[in-house]
Symmetry: C2
Subunit: 656 residues, 2 copies
């Protein structure tokens, strides 16, 4: 019994859920997904305004109403808003992780800024598990154990072209029989596609008896000069199971990369530094496993992002030439390494991937941050900055990228500042000044009694003192003000932030002219770096459409005040985004997506590095920037205007 | 000033010499080669009759007179006799190693049989060396050391798509500077092409300062159950620099693979057997280096062929399941292994390749022999046999191949024979009998006093006794002969080959009915194997166009007598060829040619193995073959006819 006038039915296949549903031609794609039980995020309820229900049309045709939530690039890639699409033909649809998993891969902080993060990538981790049930051998079918396994994987999963690690061959016969011919194998994609059209050649790196697919984890690490952060990732669910951070054990051998490299020149020095960071990594792994109750044997991969020096020391590669002109790293692309051969306490089959580097001072951490932030995916002219002792700068978009690094000195981390301390309890972070009596209002980390000044506090203090005209634009104190707080100390003029009785130390906490000078040098180096790099790539000024600030320090600075002192370019505040630890973000996202891992390699290759260390123009720009905000007032119109207003109306309260 | 009526000039490029010459259109190609200084072998002086000047036309056209020295396959591949070809257009010509190097790759013995060896392959060893001079880094060009090296290799040699071993990265910075940016790298092709169109991905496995191209060696090994043979190969000249042979150190743990496998079940047994063969390999390497004055550091590769059990034990892979039904090896294709990780004393960068195996009892040694003999290159229906305790049989041609193995027992190696000894000084090898008085004429190895009987001697003795009717076709002695030599001994009837005073042992040397019975079982197993396998692939009988006999034992047997007892099929003697150690031959040739290495993998895949151990038909054939030559007289027409003639004319002398 046929019904009449039935609309034509078409089939919609959803990946990675691997679910099919038959719907009528013309059906709304979001409705089809809901009917199929595929969870797609659609916070606006299908109105087309939130842009969270984006999917990738892999095969077939849809009719879509385009909204401005869909960029040109996304449209070209085949991405559509499910709620705005009607099914025309049989479809194969891929639901990207950020639509599918309700952004589980993003931390709470990251969700706030997710508009600048990498998008549209497929959830295809380089590490995969496959379960097969094999027919036991018989006299009629007594092919080798390995051929039997490979045949099973080919038949069940169309997996072919595998390269087999010898360690798998070693335990193959035993494992197959222990699992009664039911086993789970782990594969890893180690090489990016050599060229378009070439197939990947995944490595078969492990075999376990029975079905262990449910337990499938990997590790992402950011190896910083100061701190090491690790995350344990669930590769089935695409989320962070545990996170931990610790000081890099190398700290006792030197504060910055230069002293570490120098230490490596001592006999046994490189080995000792390598062991120090490996020991930190091992502590973090132990902590992550304890937090999550995950067993070590279920962890199959290790993705590491770090600067070039940290990467080379971790791999045991002599970093000497990073420090000597012309500053050459050993490699931009490091081959995967067996992690346990480095002393890392993981399974023997675990490979450690390191992010590709661009140059000696633009490392894998920056590539990781840029990929994590999706800079390479957008046409938007972006400035990517990682502010720290060593400042790294990237300018570019999906078409091109230029990088540079500049040594800012330790001021941003409280170094070289009379009462400078690292960002910790009691560090003065917030600062306002009462323009009428020049008394300060302080805010400290943890609300504790003041103990010292951290980097972000330093910026706020200097900006406040400038706006209140306690210091002049050259950074010098006005000695004639009616306040006891400005006085002459052992380092010249200084401003008393807190009197001895109010402090943890029992001594006055001050900011000196020398401190201000150090901060000015640091901010001048960063700004001159941006300016020189902009000029080098033919840009007129610092007219970036977006400024992404990475790094733990960056997340705590006050943008307006950083602009006031001339650290950041004078752009509207809404163009600035903090992404926190971009290096760790990229390490995590590439653990989830082989596409992004390919991107990382491509990004590292497309980045052109400009060496600033002996660049005359950089030196000129640097000298010109040794002023608050800058000797060129036109480069900071908003600040110049406000300073002028404040000069004519000093009573105006200037806290932000 | 132009000359008039000049013929058009065309360019001929010769590889691998990389030489060009301009010749007139119509020039003889052999003359062009001579003029270009390219050495092509042409023993008949260009008459077209020897067929030794074959070359491969890679591009362009020639006009050729075809002779019967050129097979249909060769012609289709683009191979031509240079002396019979005239140049029509610009040409690119490849001169194969066997034409180019005056067959330097072949041993003296092999040259005699070179018509059955692999032909037409290009001299392209999997191991290569490349020398580059790199521009030192400057501030303008401070890319990483590795990128600089890879760029240099790409520019100079169009080498791309390399995968880099971490060990190279480790010593890269030091080596580049030590060599003042002039270095030699070693690459290795480890993977065969995954599929047509995919490019190979060579591994960069070593880097040395300066130009070391001149010193470029590798090792080829045949790991036999009884003996291990090694050759040191010069990869520049394509020749054998040194050769050495030694007993496999595992012999003290058991004579055959079955006892070895049993030994592996003891605690530490596998480890001990692995160490035993590794120690033998190390002794041979030391001997090869001493003979040749080559330094170990210039040896970059190790190619090993062995039966499945020997291969697995060498690699430390539990061989237990080889012995248990249904007889499964761990793998047919073993991944390349770092040789020093197995305890082999070679450079750390040396990889060990093992030949792919077909089944538990048809191993890489057979694949190696088949490839070395070029069975896969010809349409000729070929029987390839390796006769020994374990007999392996291959039937096929370039289109298909079938294999089987049969356990013949140790009789061919003198085992289970009352006075049997291995082929060594004093072993009775030749035997004739005077039909009038039934007195023997003996020949021993080294001409020494008789000490015992070796395998090939046993065949000659039994054939002689049969033709003289001292034994009947059922292998039983005729007790009524007028000679004291036939007598009753402790094992039943026997024939005295040498009286005590003539022997080294001071005792009579005899052959007993039990010995003859053991030989009949051994030859019946081999013959029944051939017969069953022929039948399995749909062949009527044993009508092979060529029979290739590999193995040290095979080289010493007398074909006519082996036919007489029914070990070999009754075919015209000119169809039989001995190739000696085919396993070592294949290991050597694949060290010289990546094409042949690909062939080895293809051949192993195309071979269909037939399991005879529990095959009823094989058992029937075996029982039918327990007769001299066979219960089916029609299968041995020549022998039957001769035996009949001898019966009617017993005075005819029958020595061969």
């Amino acid at each position: 019994m046929r019904k009449t006038a039935a609309k034509r039915k078409v089939n919609v296949h959803f990946d990675p859920d691997n679910v099919d549903i038959a719907v009528e031609q013309g059906e709304n794609l979001l409705q089809a997904a809901i009917a199929a039980g595929v969870r797609i995020h659609a916070s606006c309820g299908g109105a087309g305004t939130c842009g969270t229900c984006k999917v990738l049309i892999e095969e077939g045709e849809v009719e879509t109403t385009r909204t401005k939530r869909l960029s040109e690039e996304e449209y070209e890639q085949g991405i559509r808003q499910a709620c705005q699409s009607r099914v025309l033909t049989d479809l194969s649809v891929y639901v990207p992780v950020e639509s599918r998993l309700e952004r589980a891969v993003l931390t709470r902080e990251e969700k706030k800024v997710s508009q600048v993060l990498a998008t549209g990538w497929r959830f295809t981790p380089p590490l995969s598990k496959f379960y097969v049930e094999l027919p036991p051998p018989t006299l009629e079918d007594n092919t080798s154990d390995l051929s039997r396994l490979l045949r099973g994987l080919r038949q069940r999963y169309h997996l072919s072209n595998l390269s087999v690690d010898f360690s798998v061959v070693k335990k193959l016969a035993k494992t197959l029989r222990e699992g009664d011919w039911r086993v789970t194998v782990t594969t890893l994609v180690t090489a990016v596609k050599p060229r378009a059209g070439d197939r990947r050649r995944p490595r078969l790196i492990n075999i376990e008896p029975g079905d262990t697919r449910e337990k499938h984890y990997s590790l992402a690490f950011d190896i910083g000069t100061t701190t090491v952060c690790g995350q344990l990732l669930d590769l089935n669910r695409g989320n962070v199971v545990a996170e931990s951070i610790a000081y890099n054990g190398q700290i006792s051998y030197g504060q910055d990369v230069i002293t570490r490299i120098a230490y490596c020149q001592r006999p046994g020095g490189l080995k000792r530094l390598q062991q120090a960071v490996v020991s930190t990594i091992n502590d973090i792994i132990a902590e992550l496993l304890a937090q999550s109750q995950v067993e070590l044997e279920h962890v199959g991969h290790l993705m590491v992002a770090g600067n070039t020096t940290m990467t080379q020391i971790l791999l045991g590669l002599e970093p000497k030439y990073i420090r000597l002109a012309p500053y050459t790293p050993v490699a931009n692309f490091f081959p995967p390494v067996n992690a346990s051969s480095l002393g890392i306490k993981v399974n023997e089959h675990v490979y450690l991937f390191t992010f590709p580097a661009v140059a000696s001072y633009v490392g894998g951490d920056i590539v990781s941050g840029v990929v994590g932030a999706g800079v390479h995916q957008r046409k938007t002219l972006t400035l990517f900055m990682d502010i720290g002792t060593n400042g790294e700068i990237v300018i570019g978009n999906s078409d091109w990228m230029a990088t540079a690094s500049c040594s800012a000195g330790p001021a941003f981390e409280g170094g070289g500042i009379k009462h400078g301390i690292v960002a910790s309890e009691g560090a003065i972070e917030e600062f306002n000044i009462n323009p009428s009596n020049l008394e300060p209002e302080l805010g400290t980390i943890g609300g504790a009694k003041p103990k010292g000044i951290c980097g972000s506090g330093l910026i706020n203090i200097v900006a406040g003192l400038l706006e209140a005209r306690v210091i002049a634009q050259n950074g010098k104190f006005n000695p004639d003000l009616p306040t006891k707080r400005v006085r002459r100390g052992s380092d010249g003029y200084e401003y008393v932030l807190a009197w001895a009785p109010e402090t943890q130390t029992g001594k006055d906490i001050v900011i000196t002219e020398v401190d201000i000078d150090n901060l000015m040098r640091a901010k001048a180096a960063m700004y001159a770096g941006c300016q020189t790099l902009s000029k080098s790539v033919g840009l007129g000024g610092c007219e970036f459409e977006q400024v992404i600030i990475a790094g733990a320090f960056g997340s705590h600075i006050n943008i307006e005040r950083a602009i006031t002192i001339g650290l950041l370019p004078d752009l509207p505040p809404e163009r600035f985004v903090f992404i926190g630890n971009g290096s760790l973000l990229g390490a995590r996202l590439t653990s989830f997506s082989t596409d992004l891992l390919d991107d990382a390699r491509r990004v590292a290759q497309m980045m052109t590095n400009f060496e600033l260390s002996e660049n005359v123009e950089f030196m000129n720009n640097y000298v010109a920037a040794l002023f608050l905000p800058h000797t060129d007032a036109n480069a900071f119109p908003t600040v110049s205007k406000r300073l002028a207003e404040l000069a004519s109306n000093p009573e105006q309260r200037i806290n932000v």
